[in-house]
Symmetry: C2
Subunit: 407 residues, 2 copies
């Protein structure tokens, strides 16, 4: 890609994010929904201005979601998160098991092979923690107890999903599964978070102390950025997921003296990168798979709608396994619904390994589109209070505590 094309794509991304976000807020919806729809308009289904699979756009989008999870971590109180550990775990486990089993069942009923059915079931399990956290933050509810349960469950979901993904990849590559292998993958994914938080809590304050003593310009910003990128890299390298590492880095730094200051610095940077992620998610959505006039795509449309139903029902049911009132449990369930990019990663591995046909890939993609786009407006309707309007130049990815005096 030459520099001119790169700049054109950035212009399209920022225009889509800002206009889409603003229009969404005007009709009372979270800005993130507008950013994703803006992405559809400028993406592969629309004007074709943004190519989400271009390496540089993809990498900047990844940096965006990593910064978002780092920010979410910075705003999360580890003790509060651990205090809802019980309900989070139940919601996560049920929210993985139900969609996996019912997705498998639906596909077997429709006559698919066991391996194909398993793959589609697995692609129904993920929760896109980025989208949900962003919606809760847009609506000013990130600090609520329900939100903490969603956040904890979504992170656990990601860890379970990563384990499933490496199993699925191994199966797709024709490898034999061993209980040892599965156990090892799972322990690394979960162990990393624990290790990162424990070791990080010892090292981070010393690092921050050292940096602030040097008076390097923007030293705190760059030190914490390097810390987050390093943890994200390590998490990815040991098989625990980039965003999990970034979230752990945020959890650790939130407990330092300078946690709030770091959050403010990273927040400014996030405003540039986070919208790239959401516009890219929208830009990658291919609406042609939805065409009901094409007889060939019609059967996959029906399968996609069935999978969406199963996917929504499974997560909503999981929410009802939490404690609390009915509305709160509904909020938790709906909060777990968006599959976002995580579901698509499964589908893409299935497609490239030959397990999924192009038609079934479209069905999974449709399920991802529907679950991703329906959750934000439903959450908006369920949660009290309006969408926050920014007046002090602070954006919608601001989360409680940073946005002093904004509300």
């Amino acid at each position: 890609m030459d520099v001119g094309t790169f700049f054109l794509q950035l212009i399209a991304i920022f225009a889509a994010a800002k206009i889409g976000g603003e229009l969404a807020r005007r009709v009372g919806q979270p800005a993130v929904l507008g950013e994703m729809i803006g992405g559809i308009v400028v993406g592969v289904s629309g004007l074709g201005l943004v190519e989400p699979h271009e390496p540089v756009i993809h990498l900047l989008a990844e940096l965006g979601v990593v910064l978002l999870l780092f920010l979410i971590g910075l705003e999360t109180d580890l003790r509060k998160l651990l205090s809802v550990g019980g309900p989070s775990t139940i919601v996560a486990v049920v929210g993985v098991a139900l969609p996996l089993i019912s997705g498998y069942g639906v596909m077997r009923f429709l006559g698919s092979q066991p391996i194909v059915s398993l793959f589609i079931g697995a692609s129904l399990t993920a929760t896109s923690v980025g989208i949900t956290a962003r919606v809760l933050s847009d609506l000013g509810h990130l600090g609520d107890r329900e939100s903490q349960i969603i956040l904890g469950a979504a992170v656990l979901d990601d860890l379970i999903g990563l384990t499933l993904l490496s199993i699925a990849t191994a199966v797709a590559a024709g490898q034999r599964l061993t209980a040892m292998g599965v156990g090892k993958t799972a322990s690394i994914a979960f162990g990393f978070v624990v290790a990162a938080v424990v070791v990080g809590s010892v090292l981070a304050p010393r690092l921050i102390d050292l940096i602030t003593r040097f008076k390097i310009s923007k030293g705190l910003l760059f030190a914490s950025l390097i810390f987050a990128l390093t943890l994200a890299y390590l998490a990815d390298a040991v098989g625990s997921g980039l965003i999990i590492g970034a979230f752990a880095a945020g959890l650790v730094l939130a407990r330092c003296d300078k946690g709030q200051e770091i959050a403010r610095e990273i927040h400014d940077l996030g405003q540039f990168f986070v919208p790239i992620f959401f516009v890219a998610v929208g830009a990658a959505i291919d609406l042609r798979t939805l065409n009901p006039l094409d007889p060939h795509s019609r059967q996959y449309l029906v399968i996609g709608l069935l999978l969406s139903l199963v996917g929504v029902a499974g997560k909503v049911a999981a929410g009802f396994c939490a404690t609390g009132g009915g509305l709160r449990r509904l909020v938790i369930g709906v909060g777990m619904v968006p599959r976002g990019e995580v579901g698509l990663i499964f589908a893409q591995i299935g497609l490239s390994s030959g397990i999924l046909s192009a038609g079934l890939y479209s069905s999974v993609a449709l399920m991802v589109i529907i679950t991703t786009l329906v959750a934000p407006p439903i959450l908006r309707a369920l949660l009290p209070g309006g969408v926050r309007r920014t007046t002090h130049g602070l954006s919608d990815i601001v989360v409680d505590g940073i946005s002093d005096g904004e509300e």
Copy 2:
């Protein structure tokens, strides 16, 4: 490149920039010198952690230099710049003519073909406005009259250089030169700046007015960013150079009511991207061309040293064509010395089109390295006052007016 590798490169870039910049300041040198040397340490001559030719790093570095020139434009008073138009023009024209003629002469004397000699002469003409502006800003002298002359002359140099470059590219491709063609290229390059400033001055205030009425979060930042990227893109598309477009965008927005506010917003973003550019400049420097123990590379080392001498002498002589005291004229001349990436672009086109041998390419690269690295410490010695130490978390790319209360 996968995401992990991308993150590793970012970590290396930021560590090199911050540690290098801090060490440079501790020994009383401009931070930008430390960033470039940090780049050498992590780049192709050193640890090999940063690959400046990787597309994503290259594109982010380009975004960095575009943001830097946009910032410099935002801090430049157009009237002040025009008021030194006379001396700037003389310095620019002499600063192109002398190195071109003497470089050509030296190479002809050494027995090179006319076309080869012309190419090397042309690669001696450029001034890297980014490096010089950054040094002046690091030293807190961007507002001085000499600095304005340097800035004006460096921008004119870039425009002349771009015209020479398109001529050289046409010659390298075997095309015939016509006076018409040269005139057209030159008028587009120069005409764009005039058109951008005139049209922009009418449009920009209305645009800013419109955006601020909407209260879009970070609307001012994104509106001005889109404005700058668009002008950079257009400038590049018509053959006038990305950074020229960004500088023009800055000049225009500086004259709006919200100019200072825009500068502050863009400045925060620049702190992330600008160091990527300077570390990438350093990372691309291949010190193996300097090895005096290798008999083969020795002759090219000698040629490179001769070219450096000619390159420094030509620009210093050009500085003495300005008005003012001897020291001031020396400052102007030295300020024009760094060739930076612009000289390397010439050399690379020469290499890839077969006009320059690998050896002569190394000689030009050596000239670029020497001119780029000697100018910052000499300027530092010539200019009164120390290097500014930041204490309020504002960085060294801050320029007068933004950094309230910092000094």
